[in-house]
Symmetry: C3
Subunit: 326 residues, 3 copies
């Protein structure tokens, strides 16, 4: 991979991917013809597309024995009253494909009904999740790019809805950097445990987009607008310690003992009375559930408009041009 | 007393008491017959009940001279424009009996109408308040255990309502550990001053219960869900410094100077214009008052359901079994 | 000036000014006749009024070249996609006159429509803003003091409304102490950068008044009631570091590098996609816009009542009496 491990690298594997299909497929020609785009930028773009479309390597973790292996992009297992949904595309930093979106929705639906007491979401490998990866939108549907944006919006809406409606305590075990929608969703979790190595980054405006995952409501509620806007409008990347100080994260652990300490906590939690936990969560979230659904709808509507805007296209081109000058 | 001064001891004097009547009276036989309960556990249970029902000793602080001594469980006095409501069962760590619930409601009603500028709630002795103590539910009413749960719920609802509707600034002077409903109510106070020795503990789920005191709404608002759920769902006990960092407490003072420093602050506050303070408080709380009443109703409804659930009964039995193995 | 640079000095130049017209004009005689007011207090009052009404000195910063110089109390300029509205009465610590209220409303209206990406509000000189300065209410209108209070309320309402409705990201560059409405409005900004020298003070109750600028809603949302009440009811003055810890301020900078560091940030922000920022802000604020307007209306209504109350008058007299004893 030609991209350095920097701020911009995260962008590449996150929101860029969400956009590249629209740009790559609908406006590729227009973009190529821009005189100001250097040869290097074009080559990097092509390389990037190639790398994105490359078949996945064999590094995917094996499905745990004893679990119903019905997922391709996730490892889902239930043990000690804990259902764990593990994003399992470590070589892609657990970027979320269309398939993974659908599988997470399905896994949450099952976890909501199984015998477990709490449900955990975590990632395989060094990353928690690098955000959206919609390279699977390979065909422009009959409705054209407008239909594609609408379909992507609907998928996102259903995905976020599955978190809003989830009936049991949700725990995020943030095992590494988190980007985009994997960060914005954290406001819908009950507990967020993070390794000190984790970072939290929502670079929406940099690519002409807007917040999702109910973060336009949950982030100001959690940390106030003066902190939330820094993240949601101005692309501030938080360290784990900063995210904890601002209330987005429950507790930060040293990386060396992260998995062990979190496992101890979760095992204790999962021994607590199941109904008491579920009903208490529903009591707490019930006061704002209707509002969360409304917020989700508004965020998706705005985002679909954004995807189809010239500004959003231009933002991506500018990003590539800036990269080309490095 | 046979219970060590630990985490579990707080539980004993808090939520356990709320539950023991239902368990002790309605399911005592069933519980005794459980083969897995050790002799020690049974003996400890009997000892506990005995100690709870023992007549109160003479250690109750004397009613301050000059005040209208109309309360048995409280010391209520007005001086320097400050009405102080002091929970006065120090030998029971100020656990709230049915009588105390009713007396606090009455004292708040009077304080709301008197000439004072601010109203203070504090505790006698080393504890602020160890939560509910419903050993006064000594007779199962005609309606059976369902009626008893309903009555207890109604009492709690009226108690919390008295705080929601209180028209003047409310100051909590947290002179020691606080447990259960005495913690959850803090979201309805204007100022919370705590000694460094104070702790804040809401162990609901451990005994199969759910949050009250409007905490299902106020706690997420104050500290965000990632911190609030740790307390309300997973029984995290906060130190005074932690509670202050999370916005539940206004300021923490060294124990040695706590009473002196707080008294100085309060005297200064009580010299401020009375109506300005009351109307400003009502302005701030007015935007959410209707919602607070709805939340209170929902919390009580859920809690009554919980009290009558098998899971809640089982949780208490498990607690005793765990104690018996120590 | 005979007033020392202390806590009380800020009061003098802030809320006092808001009140002095009503007191000075309508109840001046009654106040003078109070036997308990010392000669010194009366003399200081007269001196203060004189100093307030003195013509402004020549120290006003020059209008930047190239900008449309249509404002008398502001410096407004647009550069690098940033529109800056600078309060420009440094010799009065940027206290807000009736003219300045109207000019800020107008400047915000223009900035909302111009080509800039973000809008900045800051102050000339060492202060950010010392709050209200209504010495321009020089004539009691035909409707009497009631009409005067109503007019002042309407002006405040329109002023706050201009911030609620502002469509682009708003950045406060708090270059020094901030008092009164300049503090309460901060909850309506996206970013608040402060020099370490800044302080944040809302001494409403001390003069018998009540909160405005939507702070009765935004402050409890940002920092919880236990912290918000300390400011809004009990006149606590926060340092920049405290205000940042409580979420009112985004970030604090050393005074020596404040302007340079903030300029670097803002230039970077202003290069981000304009519509993405504006639409994201509107998405975030949209969920509470209707509520903010309601809160603004209620706050103004309450404040107008306060201005006409005897308690408010008495509070100012007590303030002067206390000063006289120094």
């Amino acid at each position: 991979c030609i991209w350095p491990h920097t701020f911009n690298f995260d962008l590449t594997l996150d929101n860029l991917l969400w956009m590249l299909d629209f740009v790559g497929k609908a406006k590729w020609d227009a973009w190529k013809s821009l005189g100001s785009v250097s040869q290097d930028a074009r080559q990097q773009y092509v390389d990037l597309i190639d790398s994105l479309l490359a078949a996945e390597g064999p590094a995917v973790a094996a499905q745990p024995t004893g679990s119903a292996a019905t997922f391709d992009t996730l490892l889902v297992s239930t043990e000690d009253n804990i259902t764990t949904i593990r994003l399992n595309r470590p070589q892609k930093k657990n970027a979320i494909t269309v398939e993974m979106y659908n599988e997470v929705i399905k896994a949450l639906e099952q976890a909501g009904k199984d015998d477990s007491v709490i449900t955990v979401i975590t990632g395989s490998g060094d990353f928690y999740c690098s955000g959206n990866d919609l390279t699977n939108f390979t065909k422009i549907p009959e409705g054209g790019i407008e239909q594609m944006a609408k379909d992507a919006g609907e998928l996102l809406r259903e995905f976020v809805k599955a978190f809003i409606d989830f009936p049991k305590p949700l725990v995020a075990v943030v095992n590494g950097p988190a980007v985009g929608v994997s960060v914005t969703l954290l406001g819908l979790f009950e507990i967020v445990y993070a390794t000190e190595r984790a970072t939290f980054h929502t670079p929406f405006s940099q690519l002409g987009q807007s917040p999702e995952g109910c973060s336009s409501y949950t982030f100001p509620k959690i940390m106030g607008n003066a902190k939330a806007s820094e993240m949601l409008l101005f692309n501030k990347k938080l360290s784990a310690v900063q995210a904890c100080a601002q209330g987005l994260v429950t507790e930060v652990f040293p990386d060396s003992s992260f998995q062990t300490e979190v496992a101890t906590r979760l095992k204790a939690y999962a021994k607590l009375p199941r109904n008491s936990l579920a009903l208490s969560k529903q009591l707490i979230r019930g006061t704002e559930k209707e509002r969360l659904h409304t917020v989700n709808d508004q965020e998706v509507e705005r985002l679909v408009e954004r995807w189809l805007s010239d500004e959003c296209m231009q933002a991506i081109m500018s990003f590539f041009q800036a990269k080309a000058k490095l």
